[in-house]
């Protein structure tokens, strides 16, 4: 299974970013291969509007089954994410990516 996390840096120890659309990185953890890759989303800083749909489009390209984030995608982004079957877990905004994944595995995160 592929797990996506919104994070402020490209590593497991990076702090999560509670925002979806404006997250600087999307981490993709492939549970089958135990591989962690980072999608650099920092360019979103240059966008005055439309960060949500843009980040959602990137997320869809990575095709994860699960998204772990903080606040959850806003309206526009949620509409894009909803076109794919991605389970969204929220409430991980104040953790590191590693802690967020552990919390998800332990069933401690709220499903949106």
């Amino acid at each position: 299974m592929k797990i996506a996390l919104t994070a402020q840096g490209p590593h497991w120890d990076s702090a999560m970013d509670p925002r979806f659309g404006r997250t600087p990185y999307i981490l993709i953890y492939d549970e089958d291969t135990d591989e962690l890759t980072a999608i650099d989303n920092r360019a979103v800083d240059n966008e005055a509007h439309g960060a949500g749909p843009l980040t959602a489009r990137k997320l869809l390209d990575a095709a994860p089954q699960v998204l772990i984030t903080g606040n959850g995608p806003g309206g526009n982004a949620a509409a894009v994410v909803a076109t794919a079957e991605i389970a969204i877990y929220v409430g991980a905004g104040n953790m590191t990516a590693k802690e967020a994944y552990a919390a998800y595995k332990d069933g401690k995160l709220e499903k949106m």
Binding site: E47, H49, G50, A51, P53, L54, A56, R57, L60, N76, A79, V80, T83
Partner: protein, 284 residues
């Protein structure tokens, strides 16, 4: 002459100045007052009559034709505002992000994105003697003020071409709506209050107006409220201080009753005259 009444900070008295100045000028000549604060128009509250004539306003948004779309994804590529997202099997359009630039529609190889009108708000108008009034109001949920401001100004150009003086009641802030509302103004009046907030946002507004190469001056409203740093700033920057409206509870009460305060307070009438004198001098 087009006079825009703007400010950095909200709630400094733009509408007070705009309504009173327009009404004062209309004592002797035809004037159009235009409320361009389309997210929250309130000039009309002080006119004593409702603007009942009007029409809906629309902006053009692409609509997706699923049957002809080849899913090439070019629409998403050309959209600078991420208002259109091309997914593998569908195209999603976000009308509130769309700037009606037509790029996706014009460049679509299969013409699958025809532009269609979508209601964004309503424009209303009324005329009473020398004073004509036009206001626009954005629908709830609409995020973009600029297209409506643009249409309103075009309407005024058309309907009131012969009226020599226009007063624009502008939105607050220094972003796109303010730029659009002041773009064609011959003079911009920046209304501020003598407080740290007022000064901070005045500086932003001054920077914006300088960038736009506008002639402008400052009106201090609620003079006596805070400190004299706004005046010191204007003096140091060589910005004309056009007028000072005193901080007086009776003026606030009059305003709260929906009155045009210059009709009740000679001090305000004198300040309006001073504003016009200074504008005429600056513009000549």
């Amino acid at each position: 002459m087009k006079i825009a009444i703007a400010s950095g900070k909200g709630g400094t008295g733009k509408t007070t100045v705009a309504v009173n100045l327009a009404s004062y000028l209309a004592e002797t000549r035809p004037v159009v007052l235009v409320d361009l604060d389309v997210e929250e128009p309130n000039s009309g509250l002080f006119l004593g009559a409702e603007a009942t004539d009007g029409r809906d306003t629309f902006k053009m948004i692409p609509a997706w034709e699923s049957t002809t779309c080849s899913h090439c994804g070019q629409c998403q590529e050309v959209c600078n505002f991420h208002a259109i997202i091309a997914l593998p099997d569908q195209v999603m359009i976000f009308p509130e992000l769309c700037h009606s630039c037509y790029a996706c529609s014009e460049l679509c190889p299969t013409s699958s994105l025809p532009m269609q009108p979508v209601k964004m708000g309503r424009m209303s108008w009324l005329s009473a003697g020398n004073l004509s009034f036009v206001e626009s109001r954005l629908d709830i949920g609409q995020e973009q003020a600029v297209p409506l401001i643009k249409q309103t100004l075009a309407f005024v150009d058309e309907r009131h071409a012969a009226v020599p003086i226009r007063i624009y009641d502008c939105p607050p802030g220094t972003s796109c709506p303010v730029i659009e509302a002041t773009r064609e103004a011959d003079f911009v009046v920046l209304v501020t209050e003598p407080t740290p907030f007022g000064l901070n946002d005045l500086k932003l507004a001054v920077e914006t107006m300088r960038h736009l190469d506008k002639k402008f001056g400052v009106v201090v409203n609620r003079q006596g409220l805070g400190d004299d740093r706004v005046e010191a700033y204007c003096a140091a920057e060589g910005i004309p201080l056009l007028a000072r409206i005193p901080n007086d509870r009776r003026i606030a009460e009059s305003y709260a009753r929906g009155q045009r305060i210059y009709e009740h307070f000679p001090v305000v009438r004198r300040q309006l005259a001073a504003i016009m004198d200074a504008i005429k001098e600056a513009a000549s």
